[in-house]
């Protein structure tokens, strides 16, 4: 085990997989000599050469489209979107070409799209979004949202080895603020399995990404018997873990930083409503960003992104219900 940040764990997964399998390569904007906007691939060009840390022109559809073709031909491309927001410019290749190829033609597309997401640093409307729900409406894409350094490494390695297009959402707020013990060398975490981040009996917070940390901190500060489920994967969704915890505590708060309408939380709430209605002791609640673009100015951004106090208040309300 080694202690590393969430960002270092992502780099470690990439480096380990690139050493293990020479078909793995990275492509994206400014990732080569510069090492990427967040330095995830810092030093990679020296170790693996410019061909396997391919600096692309500023053209997201070209990145995703080239990755799709290379994946079909047996490479394992890992695309970096400089910011998750920019996948909007590569969306057509992702949802119309890559996502549908196996269903339509039996052609597997083993590729990863890394998506630095999330707000909290005055990135404004185009550098702060959490676009995971966009992908959930495009069957054929797997969607991963790790919260811890260990899961960031293990899930990225699994994504690279998966024969499908995988959207890997890495919250920028976790990059340097979250640290943890991470197994050294080859390490994978299975896709599609949620994790009980904290056991409890009185209520459940179902979260992913940055909201997991908010939930854990709220539970500690409130000192209540709160269970926290870290989804880790949004597609495929671990229905069993969700339903099992909902049935156990009877009270569920779903938390994510992404906007509210038709977000991943709506799907989780729908699942609980359909399958665990009779086990509930309270309405299923959601804590999310309201349906607005992410504003720039700190007090405005603070007002829309879920904060620790919001999480504590939402938990208190549900516990008291």
């Amino acid at each position: 085990m080694a202690e590393m940040t969430y960002l270092e764990a992502i780099s470690d997964a990439l480096r380990t997989e690139m050493r293990r399998d020479e078909s793995v390569f990275c492509l994206g904007e400014d990732i080569g000599a510069f090492g990427g906007a967040f330095k995830v691939t810092d030093g990679f060009a020296e170790e693996f050469g410019a061909d396997r840390v391919l600096d692309t022109p500023l053209a997201e559809n070209a990145i995703v489209g080239a990755a799709t073709g290379a994946a079909i031909e047996g490479m394992r491309p890992v695309c970096e979107m400089q910011f998750a927001d920019f996948i909007a410019c590569g969306f057509d290749q992702l949802v119309n070409v890559a996502a549908k190829l196996h269903y339509r033609q039996g052609v597997a597309v083993p590729m990863v799209v890394r998506l630095p997401s999330g707000g909290g640093f005055s990135g404004g409307p185009f550098h702060s979004q959490n676009p995971e729900a966009w992908f959930l409406q495009a069957p054929g894409l797997k969607v991963l949202t790790p919260a811890t350094a260990g899961d960031a490494k293990g899930l990225l390695a699994s994504a690279i080895r998966d024969p499908n297009p995988v959207c890997f959402l890495e919250h920028k707020g976790l990059y340097r603020h979250v640290r943890g013990e991470v197994p050294e060398g080859e390490y994978t975490v299975p896709i599609g399995e949620a994790r009980v981040a904290r056991e409890g009996l009185e209520m459940t917070v179902i979260a992913y990404g940055s909201s997991v940390h908010l939930a854990l901190e709220a539970a500690e500060q409130l000192d209540e018997d709160i269970e926290v489920i870290d989804l880790r994967t949004l597609c495929p969704l671990d229905s069993e873990a969700i339903l099992s915890s909902a049935r156990k505590t009877g009270k569920v708060l779903i938390a994510h930083e992404a906007t509210r309408a038709c977000g991943a939380g709506a799907e989780v709430a729908g699942l609980i409503g359909e399958e665990a209605f009779e086990d509930l002791d309270a309405p299923v609640r959601r804590l999310t960003t309201p349906d607005v673009p992410i504003p720039f100015s700190p007090p405005l951004e603070h007002a829309v992104l879920p904060q620790l106090e919001d999480m504590k208040e939402a938990c208190r309300e549900l516990l008291a219900y």
Binding site: P57, G65, A66, A71, I72, E73, K100, V107, P163
Partner: protein, 355 residues
């Protein structure tokens, strides 16, 4: 890459190496073009009989492009074939029954009913099928070419698109990436004069082949209704790509002799235009040329065409006998369990016989 390189293969009247094609190759070119025409005529008839869900799209008048270009490829080369290019599927080994069954949404179609009309590619024959967003496959062809280049394999990716696609940003992204990395890719641009109803002058201000030079690779502008001219330009481009010299854009001038789809009455086509292009029909022209220039007896040419037509009729019966797919498969295979390589395509050009 300099502009003088870019003009290297742009002279459509360059002398031709006749030794590239044997007598049997020429018979095959006629056979595949005739097969495309006959299969599409049969498909249109099935559409009119109500056996084809959705609409019907063909490439009548463009047979020389699909067949001539695909004929230049070796087995391990890869293709992304578009909707006016049925002949390219046939060159690579798809049979007409599977094409017709695909149009009818049958289990025996190439996609087994998952996708329709020309949205197919047989992965076992080295093809990745198109999507409706028409420039998209140029980006995918780039990716396949990138894989070949990274692994140092002497292989080529080829794709098609119409002149309308050149108006879309993705087309320019693809040309740019191919030029930067000198990817082993061949772009076949079919200028069939209309993007649905939109004429050239409303799609672009300069002829799209001119973009090749600005992206750093050669462009050629050729007669798309001359199958040997298409083959020769494609052969030069394929070899150029295989040798590591990078991409080529080949603009083939042609005419879409039918509507965008069978529902399109073509009211926007100026009077006399279809009649003028009918006189340049690629199949009639080549049939006449086989007789006048290459020593085929008229009977021999007629027999090739008749044999193909009866083969397509047999294939149509086979397609009609194919069942509809089981509804249960509608929710299957969204995700892959494993990656498997594409298979190789057939390569009927005599050059590949020894390999």
């Amino acid at each position: 890459m300099t502009l003088s390189d870019a003009s290297a293969v742009s002279d459509a009247t360059a002398p031709v190496d006749r030794a590239l094609l044997t007598r049997e190759d020429r018979a095959r070119l006629l056979r595949y073009m005739t097969m495309m025409r006959a299969a599409e005529e049969r498909g249109l008839a099935l559409y009119k009989q109500g056996k084809v869900p959705g609409s019907f799209y063909d490439g009548r008048g463009q047979e020389a492009i699909a067949v001539g270009a695909a004929f230049a490829l070796g087995p391990r080369d890869r293709m992304c074939i578009l909707h006016r290019d049925l002949g390219a599927h046939f060159v690579r080994g798809v049979t007409p029954d599977r094409y017709l069954a695909n149009y009818m949404g049958r289990a025996g179609g190439v996609t087994g009913g998952k996708d329709g009309n020309m949205h197919f590619g047989d992965r076992q024959l080295g093809c990745v099928g198109m999507v409706s967003m028409l420039p998209d496959m140029a980006q995918v062809a780039n990716g396949m070419a990138l894989a070949f280049k990274m692994r140092g394999e002497p292989r080529v990716a080829m794709t098609f698109f119409g002149e309308g696609s050149t108006a879309n940003g993705q087309w320019h992204e693809a040309m740019n990436l191919a030029g930067i990395h000198r990817l082993p890719v061949v772009f076949i641009l079919e200028n069939n004069q209309f993007a649905y109803s939109t004429p050239n002058e409303l799609e672009f201000a300069v002829d799209p082949v001119q973009h090749a030079a600005s992206y750093g690779f050669p462009g050629a502008n050729i007669d798309g209704n001359d199958v040997e001219a298409v083959f020769e330009a494609a052969e030069v481009a394929v070899e150029r790509a295989r040798e590591g010299a990078g991409p080529t854009l080949i603009e083939c001038q042609t005419m879409r002799m039918h509507g965008h789809g069978a529902h399109d009455d073509m009211s926007y086509v100026p009077d006399g235009m279809l009649e003028e292009w009918e006189r340049r029909d690629p199949i009639e022209r080549y049939a006449a040329r086989l007789h006048s220039d290459f020593g085929f007896a008229e009977d021999e040419v007629a027999e090739i065409r008749e044999q193909v037509r009866s083969y397509v009729a047999e294939c149509a019966e086979k397609a009609l006998a194919s069942p509809m797919p089981e509804p249960a498969i509608a929710t299957e295979d969204v995700f892959a369990e494993r990656w498997e390589p594409l298979g190789d395509g057939e390569a009927p050009w005599s050059r590949w016989e020894a390999e």
